[in-house]
Symmetry: C2
Subunit: 195 residues, 2 copies
Amino acid sequence: MGTREQIVDAANRLFYEQGYEPTSFASIAEVVGISRGNFYYHFRTKDEILEAVIQARLASTREMLACWHEGAASPLERVRRFVEIVISNREDIENYGCPVGTLTNELAKLDHPLRAQAVGVFEIFRNWLREQFEALGRSADADDLALHVLTFSQGVATLLNAFGDRDYVQREVNRLNAWLTEQFSDTSHVASRGP
Amino acid sequence: MGTREQIVDAANRLFYEQGYEPTSFASIAEVVGISRGNFYYHFRTKDEILEAVIQARLASTREMLACWHEGAASPLERVRRFVEIVISNREDIENYGCPVGTLTNELAKLDHPLRAQAVGVFEIFRNWLREQFEALGRSADADDLALHVLTFSQGVATLLNAFGDRDYVQREVNRLNAWLTEQFSDTSHVASRGP
DNA sequence: GTCTATAGCTGGATAGAC
DNA sequence: GTCTATCCAGCTATAGAC
């Protein structure tokens, strides 16, 4: 892996774990194992690193969703798979929150020019969810349903980060799965209630 | 208003708008109109200001909820009033997100010792909501319902901050109000659908 | 209580040797 | 491409005059 790629990888992780502003060149350089000066051969400013990190996240998100298309059978199962993210990524979310929501908010507070690009990751999820609901025959309110599922994921991520309560997460996942079942009269999945 | 109180007020606002880490003593001093040096008569460290800010938020939250008890008639109306916060605070949320969720997450990423105290604001809302649901006869799952309403508020706040879409907020508020109606067979409120 | 002055450090960013 | 050395601005925090 090239140095530039290593820098983007390390920055991606550190921006998530510590936040963009508190992450210094020194800490990224330490992880990668290069000197601070060497940075400026690959990136001229800190913002350029952020832009590369966002581009990497956009690409990996698209890739992940494309993978799901090959893996999961029906649109409804794909949506359920998205819902399960809060469980499969439980530990990271407990410690650092959602990578998408926390970055967009930090950039909002900083009034950062790359804020809109960071929101792009949300838009990828939103459009992908909308497509699933359209495939389920709900073209009229597909975007509304997509935003509702995103609302769930952001709410759960924030409260999991605050309280660290796994049972709560499972209850909310069950609740949303029950809602999905209700919306589409799906009998292939039975949401188990209670912890 | 005393200088110390003015400092806490200004810090409270700036920590919300810019975040804790990016807010410098200089910017707080500029707002209050005092010199940087004068700070250290009132607070020894930046963390001490944060602690005072959190204490102030705990107090003002308790005060607000106490006010609602006098104002709103029924427990259900009080819950609906909480739900409406995302509308009445729309502009701030659009620009800076939820003051509670964004601070707890920032402190989580910083691994800050005051993280638990900041979560205390969430706990006040959680306990208060739980009490309302208990008063509505749902003592068995009152805490679960309380967390669900909190999940809604955090999800909506994060996505309103990202997308800035007011119609989306109204749709989600309508959806949660319909859910409340369904839960308690309430006929005093009719959720209007659509924009 | 409030000020000025300043210490001591760390941040992002640059210059130039190799 | 990578390094060391360095600049300068900004930060938290302190000392001491008023």
